[in-house]
Symmetry: C2
Subunit: 441 residues, 2 copies
């Protein structure tokens, strides 16, 4: 019977994770969970699919356009989540009475955006969010920034920089320029400066009713990064002089950098950068994003900020907070671009046991279990009695350190693929022999 | 400005994971990844959204009906994955040339089914699949069963039983009864015996053109579980006598139980049960499912089997394999039903540092980091200088073991919530003091 074969393929912007990337992904997630937990954060999860009305209308119209929205079989308008922040707001509003505030939560999961796919930008990607909800003030901001610096540092992905700004600074300047009723369009325009350049931003600002002089003021402010944070702080401090909100913003940035440096016991990898806006409307204080220093063009590997009224769409309680998204898929993509996706060494030593037609298979199963129990060994029993050379070739291709063969006389031959040497032992002595050989390397 | 509040709610069948369940979920996933890795399995991931034509037509018509299918903004028919097995088949066919066979892979992810929601059955649930692809023979089956037994055992969820059968046994009997051209409808009918009872199954078999005598034969076979596996094997062995396929099936079950017991160093928690069918059409050999002994009515917490031609829809290569799905959401639901979802003790000791308006916050950040670095401590700095009593109450509600207050004179007061005792030390001495107090508990 001849049958039609369906060409195996994935949707554009949706990628399989291959084993080498999968190992890196696991390591990144382990670091994240370890770091979050050590700061007292609790794991939560929200569904991938929610009522469309819940997910829409918070992130802004661009998010809404990119949402995967559809009607389910019960006729409900539903959508795949666009980020983890809006679901968190819904979660906190819904379970408010069951939670202890300030509530520290982390949530690791996929999000979906119908963005134009391009290198490093997927339509499905894995994010990891951590938030402290129910409190104002910069201690929480400093803890979140410390978490970013600690987690990215422990991931061993190379040098990175957290670009930090405070919305209060821009708000102060906008008030001085009498643009306080045009904050969202102005911020959205300024947010594009890295992408489209200052001239195009000036045009967009003009379109939003900003005078040329005010636009020049704003562009000068966001273009004022100096050699040191202190120099930038002085420079920006001068331009917000007289605006209480702007001066508070500058003071908060200075103090938060000091707090993070204290926690890290070293200068924080933070650069105060007044051009950081983060387009989303809900931020009200600190805003930040991290870039990999060797791939700054790849986009931010992390971003977040303080919101003073996130859940107001779902509850009359005021729930201020601060949070970060760490882009796990983005980090994997950056490492891939740097040719460093597969450079993670195996945690443990791989052992492959071969088998022949006459092999004592219960003995092989017992031995595999004994080796796993004896130390940091991953053990595979080759699952078929095919040609011995095929099995040895397989073990080599897998990167096994030890290939084991049970001989007809009941002794086990060990081939050490690292040294090329051979040894043998009675099965009961094999775990100890392997531990010795592996330890001596 | 008055604004409308959207009632925060999730879709029916879609559940939030609260922190206590989230901790359990994390522990289950850690055990699974640890066990899979120790058997040489590699982590892979496939997208949640795929072309509908890729996902449909493999699992059977019931799966197709339950699929969340929709048109994306580019006019493509897409769907949320229904299981992790069909995407794996597509993955292996697509990446065949890049993989080393036999290919051992695990994939942990959510799947979506538009099932009628009921207790323990969600429309979105987390599964964890492990498969060995590219090889026939029962060694791989035995490794998969050993993985299930090892993982469920290490999860510390209570007693469980793996119910095991072999499709070859039923196939042998069906051939003897001259029903070989009606295998799928007969298996689907037999698969329902636990749910609808033997009388209704007999009716359904009659509808599929099975004679009353043959139906009685089949029902007797699948109802023949005896006190011991050996007794059931003898009984079933007698009824397949003369069918080579049936006899092979019985011999394979006997040997696989022996192999798993050898690996575990104890009798395998496996019960040979000829009524296990697993409705899906693609199984060809061993089939199995695990139930929690204290909640057998909650449905299977794991299931799988051997398929000899899984990827044939996507490739002309023949790729036999064996795999298991472990139902992480189902296990959490079973533990919840048993009142044991929150009984996981904290891995590490929680410490809460309080702060006052005049506190030396850099000192507090430094100290929090030092305590984290000193041992198994999770440390929170209370993120606002609110009333001290509020902060102490928070620490208590969070289950903190130690509450710390930096006094005006620069010494740190420690309250041990377990013993009720108080101690104090210079900040630099606090990590050692906490280690001593925690170690002495």
């Amino acid at each position: 019977m001849k049958r039609t074969v369906i060409t195996p393929r994935t949707l554009r912007g949706f990628a399989d994770v291959m084993p080498s990337a999968g190992r890196r992904r696991r390591q990144l997630l382990e670091v994240l969970e370890e770091v979050y937990t050590s700061f007292g954060f609790e794991p939560i999860q929200t569904p991938a699919v929610e009522y469309a009305e819940i997910l829409k209308g918070k992130g802004g119209t661009e998010s809404d356009k990119q949402m995967f929205e559809f009607e389910d079989k019960g006729g409900r308008r539903v959508a795949l989540r666009f980020d983890l922040t809006v679901p968190l707001a819904r979660f906190v509003a819904q379970h408010e009475s069951e939670l202890t505030f300030p509530f520290r939560a982390y949530n690791i999961g996929y999000v979906w955006r119908g963005d134009r796919p391009q290198r490093g930008r997927y339509r499905e990607f894995l994010q990891s969010d951590a938030d402290i909800i129910g409190v104002s003030g910069i201690t929480a901001d400093a803890e979140i920034l410390t978490i970013i610096a600690t987690a990215l540092g422990r991931m061993d992905i190379g040098p990175f920089t957290i670009r930090l700004n405070n919305r209060k600074i821009l708000n102060g300047v906008l008030t001085r320029l009498e643009l306080q009723d045009r904050v969202p369009p102005v911020l959205r325009a300024l947010d594009k400066v890295d992408k489209i350049g200052p001239a195009a931003v000036a045009d967009e600002l003009a379109g939003a009713g900003v005078t040329a002089a005010a636009a020049q003021d704003l562009l000068a402010l966001i273009g004022s990064v100096q050699a040191s944070n202190e120099a930038t702080l002085s420079h920006v401090g001068a331009s917000v002089k007289g605006s209480a909100e702007g001066e508070t913003g500058v003071a908060e940035v200075r103090e938060v950098i000091e707090l993070v440096s204290a926690a890290l016991g070293a200068p924080a990898p933070i650069r105060f950068d007044p051009s950081i806006v983060r387009g989303l409307d809900y931020y009200t204080g600190m805003v930040f994003e991290a870039v990999h220093d060797e791939a700054p063009g790849a986009g931010s590997i992390s971003g977040g900020g303080r919101y003073d009224d996130l859940a107001s769409v779902y509850t009359t309680s005021r729930l201020p907070g601060v949070g970060v998204s760490i882009g796990v898929s983005r980090i994997l993509s950056v490492l891939d671009g740097l040719g460093r996706l597969s450079d993670l060494p195996r945690d443990r030593t791989l052992v492959v046991l071969t088998q022949d037609l006459g092999s004592d298979r219960p003995e092989l199963m017992r031995l595999a279990a004994a080796i796993r129990g004896a130390g940091p060994f991953d053990v595979e029993l080759y699952p078929a009695a095919v040609k011995h050379a095929t099995q040895m070739k397989y073990g080599d291709a897998r990167g096994a350190r030890f290939l084991l063969t049970l001989d007809a006389d009941g002794t086990m031959s060990v081939k050490d693929m690292e040294s090329g040497e051979r040894a043998s032992a009675a099965p009961a002595g094999v775990p100890a022999l392997l531990s010795k050989l592996a330890g001596g390397a």
